[in-house]
Symmetry: C2
Amino acid sequence: DARLADARQVHPAHERVSVPGSRPDLQVPRLRVHLTNGEAFDRYTTAGPGSDPAVGLPPLRAAWVRERGDDAAHDAGRPVTQMHHARAGRITPEMEFVALREDCEPELVRAEVAAGRAVIPLNVRHPEAEPMVVGRRFLVKVNANIGTSAVTSGVEEEVEKLTWAVTWGADTVMDLSTGRRIRETREAVLRNSPVPIGTVPVYEALEKVGGDAAKLSWEVFRDTVVEQAEQGVDYVTVHAGVLRAHVPLAAHRVTGIVSRGGSIMAGWSMAHARENFAYEHFDELCELLAAYDVTISLGDGLRPGSVADANDAAQLAELRTLAELTTRAWEHDVQVMVEGPGHVPLDLVEENVRLQQEWCHGAPFYTLGPLATDVAPGYDHITSAIGAATIGMHGTAMLCYVTPKEHLGLPDRDDVKTGVVTYKLAAHAADVAKGHPGARAWDDALSRARYDFRWHDQFALSIDPPTAQAMHDETLPAEAAKTA
Amino acid sequence: DARLADARQVHPAHERVSVPGSRPDLQVPRLRVHLTNGEAFDRYTTAGPGSDPAVGLPPLRAAWVRERGDDAAHDAGRPVTQMHHARAGRITPEMEFVALREDCEPELVRAEVAAGRAVIPLNVRHPEAEPMVVGRRFLVKVNANIGTSAVTSGVEEEVEKLTWAVTWGADTVMDLSTGRRIRETREAVLRNSPVPIGTVPVYEALEKVGGDAAKLSWEVFRDTVVEQAEQGVDYVTVHAGVLRAHVPLAAHRVTGIVSRGGSIMAGWSMAHARENFAYEHFDELCELLAAYDVTISLGDGLRPGSVADANDAAQLAELRTLAELTTRAWEHDVQVMVEGPGHVPLDLVEENVRLQQEWCHGAPFYTLGPLATDVAPGYDHITSAIGAATIGMHGTAMLCYVTPKEHLGLPDRDDVKTGVVTYKLAAHAADVAKGHPGARAWDDALSRARYDFRWHDQFALSIDPPTAQAMHDETLPAEAAKTA
């Protein structure tokens, strides 16, 4: 029986099933939606098998890592990355898992990872995660940010937010925690996460030096990255492209430097009149990441913070540097994503993908939104979903969500859900627009249910069944209204 | 003193001011946002001067209509349309009003209206409305649908929804009421509306014949249109393009015919084995509309109801007919808009505008969304805002809003606001993307306030100040958090 327990079932007609791979311990999860007409519709699911926070998830990939000798290679400081294996012509269980999940040939996954056009962000020390792929040939993915802060929330709350985010479809989660329990929170998140976890290590490094960017150093930063890699972080954002020469280009912007990581690195650089330490030590950083298979996400510290600043000299100068760093990381077999904006008017969105793909040789683009206008705080999940669907259609591989609280405050549980659902629909709209094989089948299944007045099927197939049903029942609660 | 009373002020820093025109009774409203740094930012406003529902709004345009002899011409059944005057080379006060509102030359307005590329939807019997223009050279507009139904709501509630919709920026409102008090509701809406009011007359005609489409006739339909025109309706949707030959083209769709007007006309046509009566009597209809200056909005009765059906043979066949009807209406000096879909994947959105603009000689395109995916009932304000911003960027002149309740139930007051605000931000994103003169100034003003941590200014400049402030105060309620 393929049925698995799932405490986070969002609709009674949903069932977690698994597609068997080439070995008994390779079981790829699917969400099966049972319809009232006897048919069923299967979808991609990120929800995981469900975990007891006190115990954590089982180490799904531990045997795979061990069998191919990655444990020993890791201990010896040698590359254990999926790119390393892909370039050697090996199809790992992770690649096969991803191929079954995406309904494509394993060889396509291997070839895209080998070429750097896709990444499978999986630290060998995070064996709990279900493999997933980020690349333009695959489904557009969504990242959700969570994290404690000095102002609010605790460890349990973050694990709950994580579980909530993956229940609604987050493909990866970034833990942007700050404050006292940062390490403990990350540990709990990692042990309970069925999806890859990303971080921005410079945030923790800054706390170690009392919050004064000028007191940072390569050593403090490196040690922080190592500690986080040891815990199992799957990808790290590093703002190594904020060079000294770029900073003056942002001086006359409407909104200067808005990326937190970008300001930290620019602040350090200016205080010491020295080049960005992450840039200077980039090869050392890559060697370190390669031994864990931590994917590097090249942060866009000079991303525009307003539509006025989009695609300007500062942004594009940094992108040129990120392109150079992409090639350097690949020399170490390190998997690379390149981060993108931010705030971009719709007419300039396509250019962002085009330049990034050309300059960075097809490395996956990972963008925040972008927001298509600055005038709607409180609705920035929407202003940015407009930009996100568009940039996804043009080839962005992963979209970092934006919640309604963007620019205003810290997202709570409801905001996390709204952000994830909004971005999942934007990502799906992009998949449909790209003509991604099979993507439109979901739309068609729901539209057929709608046309046949099969209301229960319409709810069950919805991206958010309880919300759809509640809105329906508000006007027409009677059972007859759902069947006629 | 330019200050006017405004009971519906949404932020204390907002003031309704007026820009004087060439005559004392031509005063164009603007929303002035007073900033804490001593500057002010002026925006377009649709809110109107505020009305007492028992009295209605003052007849702003009555003298203008009278002075140019439109009263007499109307009584004689002669054309009184803005297109008629524009073609004769006359710049009416309405055109001047619109030019001041849009910050452009009155001659541009006249030329665009004369060419049919823009409409000023204003029935001579709706003198209360403030003139506005719909056309691709102008700001992208937003329509909000309201309306009583058999299930819910009364006259007062609809007037309140109208006022609510224009408070948040609806540029026109369609009254889609059905049920017993349809005529009374429309009268109350018209007398209190500072924006043009649209209707779908076949809905009322159908009620007159007991809800049986087969019992409709040209005479019943015509009489209904005349009655509504007499009341002051500014534009009417007529599904004259649903020809008998087109109906079979929709037979193998995933979602058949989803437009209510489209199904009614197709149903009548099939029942009688005759051509669509609105098509057959189109010239008579136009003569009638020309004598009131009722703009015709050519309904797309065969619009796709799912992304699977987008841009198909049925839709495009109807569009060809709408192009033919556009030219015929122009022969009668009738102002024309052409309606568009619906549900369209993002990659096919641009083609919709391109074909409509080419085939219909630049007549303003007025689209419903379109929804970029079918999978998100409950979030269709967002799935459609994605399509709306994109289609607006490519040249659609007016966007018909979609609320979160689309496909699920009837919108309440909150849904109306969410729908309007979402569409206003989509329309603004389109204006910015088009490089519309001055459009980005709003973004820049808000971004500067954000970068300077002028929180109160950020709220005041927001598209929805109370929501932005409430979200901010949820995490950081202290006054210090707004100024530091």
